[in-house]
């Protein structure tokens, strides 16, 4: 069983397209390269909005956080927006501790994130 699973779907909210990335399992230094590669592929599509659903993510360490921060910077440069959805307690903790949650908006649901 893979420690981390990532699935990507193209969606639309009120006529606005967005990319939904669902991350589930545990994200740490041993699979950050894979996570970064998958996220980079999506960033390369230049989405206006990239929404990461973290509700299935049980754990995230600082290297996975760096991957998300990098996505945030890249999207920002190309005029896109990154949003995070439903982090579990352990994930919410590292976002809060590093103040990453003040840099990247965090929402309770995909619908809220898509509505901006």
């Amino acid at each position: 069983m893979d420690l981390l699973t990532v699935s990507v779907t193209a969606r639309e909210s009120a006529g606005e397209p967005y990319t939904l990335v669902e991350i589930a399992g545990e994200a740490d230094v041993t699979n950050t390269d894979e996570l970064r590669r998958l996220l980079d592929e999506e960033v390369a599509q230049q989405p206006r909005s990239l929404i990461v659903d973290m509700s299935g993510l049980r754990f995230m360490d600082s290297s996975a956080l760096h991957a998300l921060l990098r996505v945030n910077r890249s999207l920002d440069r190309q005029g896109g927006v990154l949003a995070l959805v439903s982090p579990q307690a352990a994930v919410a903790k590292i976002l809060r501790l590093t103040t990453a949650d003040r840099l990247i908006p965090v929402f309770d649901s995909v619908a809220e994130a898509a509505a901006g």
Partner: protein, 162 residues
Amino acid sequence: MASEGRTARGAPAAHEALARPPIARPSDDEPSPPAAREPTSYPYTTDLASIRAIVQRYAIKAGLSEARAIDLVLAVSEVAANTVRHAKSPGNLQIWYDAHEIVCQLHDEGTITDPLAGQRQPSLEARGGHGLWIVNEVCDQVELRSDETGTTIRLHMNLPPS
């Protein structure tokens, strides 16, 4: 909280204290300590998920709250991640607890040369360096000893009075 621990019982004491884990030694007039007081060793390479599961189990058994257990799991995972990134050798985790605290000690053959590693908060733009800073933030006390033979980091979490 964490910084108090560092200044009051920081590096100089750590040098002595880190020489060996405090194995519980029952004396004649003391009952035998619970088995968990004996440090248990868990070698690890890249199987950090199992290390996290072990720490989680111990943390709850020792009586840490769920939120503090999350902190300890995060701290141990970050230290073990440094082993994966830098040490090029397997690491070893030891866990023990008594009525007052739970301790996780991680050892590997890597060397940390920065004496202030983890003491300052890196910017969110930084490419790395959050790991040890997080460890210092979430633990009640962190002891670090590193030389050319390896690195030992001991993480202490106070237990709530029962």
